[in-house]
């Protein structure tokens, strides 16, 4: 039994360092995707919530497409399609060969999926904020930017956080798909370890437990953030408002 754990040691004999490097890449990819997905998701939510018919149509179509496609297919479309499109574009000027980085393709694909789901979350949150809040801001003499930054945004974040927390956990798991386009994330490093040690069960279980650990750490952190976002919000007060 001890022998098999030796496979996880760091150094030339063990796979510990490779797997740690893969885990780090997984974390980097998820963290790199997050801001892009959040900003895009928010913009799409604004488009869907706005007055402009075309923007609304675009937002709805965007959400429908990237919520409905399998994540793996989105990844392939971005990776191969991006490769082809970029190559054609480059060929207009020169005939150098370009290769789309798997990391960037993964980031874009996961970001598209994340932003589609996030726009739903933001839209739901936007609609829970009564119109009177923005009007009250104006009545106080705040300009539009101040109204958004000081009045709407803090409440929006509070309502959106639980949904966004879920999306983060989904994103963390979805990063495993990039292993298929040969990016050296946790799962791919595990594949490599398996193909040379012939211990699939042990290594895949280890990978699963690492993903699980990342989820648990994230959940704890997110709960702390959520609790903090609700400071100053009295339960009874919010109920009275709903009635």
């Amino acid at each position: 039994m001890g022998e098999i754990f030796g496979l996880l040691s760091f150094g030339p004999d063990g796979w510990g360092d490779e797997i740690a490097a893969g885990t780090w890449l997984t974390i980097q990819l998820a963290l790199a995707t997050l801001p892009f997905g959040l900003v895009f998701g928010f913009l799409v939510a604004l488009a869907r919530n706005g007055e402009n018919r075309w923007l609304r149509g675009f937002g709805d179509a965007y959400t429908t497409v990237f919520r409905g496609l399998p994540e793996l297919l989105t990844l392939f479309i971005v990776y191969y399609g991006g490769q082809i499109a970029l190559q054609r574009f480059i060929n207009l000027f020169s005939d150098t060969y370009v290769e789309v980085s798997g990391f960037v393709a993964g980031m874009i694909a996961l970001g598209l999926v994340f932003s589609a789901f996030a726009s739903d979350v933001f839209l739901g949150a936007l609609r829970t904020i009564p119109k009177g809040q923005a009007e009250a801001g104006q009545a106080l003499g705040l300009n539009r930017l101040q109204t958004i930054a000081l009045i709407v945004a803090p409440q929006l974040l509070r309502y959106a956080l639980p949904g966004l927390s879920n999306l983060w956990l989904v994103l963390l798991k979805d990063t495993s798909l990039v292993s298929i386009i040969a990016l050296d994330d946790l799962l791919r490093q595990t594949n490599v370890a398996v193909s040379s040690t012939k211990e699939p069960f042990f290594f895949y279980l280890t990978a699963c437990l690492i993903y699980l650990a990342l989820s648990i750490i994230s959940s704890v952190a997110l709960q702390a953030i959520e609790a903090r976002s609700f400071r100053g919000e009295e339960r009874i007060g919010s109920k009275a408002e709903a009635a």
């Binding site: 191969y80 699939p200 279980l205 993903y211 699980l212 989820s215």
Partner: protein
Amino acid sequence: MDFELLARYGPRMLEGLFVTVQLVTLSVVIGGALSLPVAFARLGKNRWLSRFAFCYIYFFRGTPLLAQVFLVYYGAGQFRAELEAVGLWWFFRDAFNCAVFTFTLNTSAYQAEILRGVIKAIPRGQFEAAHAAGLSPFATYFKVILPQAFLIGLRPYGNEIILMIKGSAIASVVTVFDLMGTTRLAFARSFDFQVYLWAALLYLAIVETLRRVWDRLEIRMTRHLRPADANTLRTNGQKQFQT
């Protein structure tokens, strides 16, 4: 649109679509059956059963589906001798079976969690009333609780089926020729990117159809919860009878 390409790979992709439907149907139905004992174990009084169910649910929800598929498919290969000894090897040697097996376990965890959520959402009085009426626990669940739970759970169940449809694309990674698998094959042979776009349209069509059917279903199943003159009220733009 390249019709020659469509003629060559279209039929095969439709066969793949059929495999996808089989994969999802089998997994969701068997997983649904399996989710009942898991959810009841989780909700039940037995501390160890409840803990076991918690770990089961946490594991399958907290780790990537792709890693789970690898764990089962390649892990089973490692235990070939043992599986042959118990006469189960014929099952696990087939990639399709492994995919169904993994998806079933995965969706049963998600469905158990949905079930737990909706059962907890049902007022305690319903349990007490059933108890007072002298119903057995079995009858209480099947005659009183589950029919109500079904209504609350309709939307999350629909989302879970959609997640399964999208997730099933992962089976293509372990050589199952579902819609994604046949598409990848077509791409590998033709190097024509549009096959991915066809697959995208097919996936979107299924997911959107399901979503719309679900919307209808929800409207129909909640018809007793709406006031008879809800429509006239809505056109008046006033809620006259609200207290």
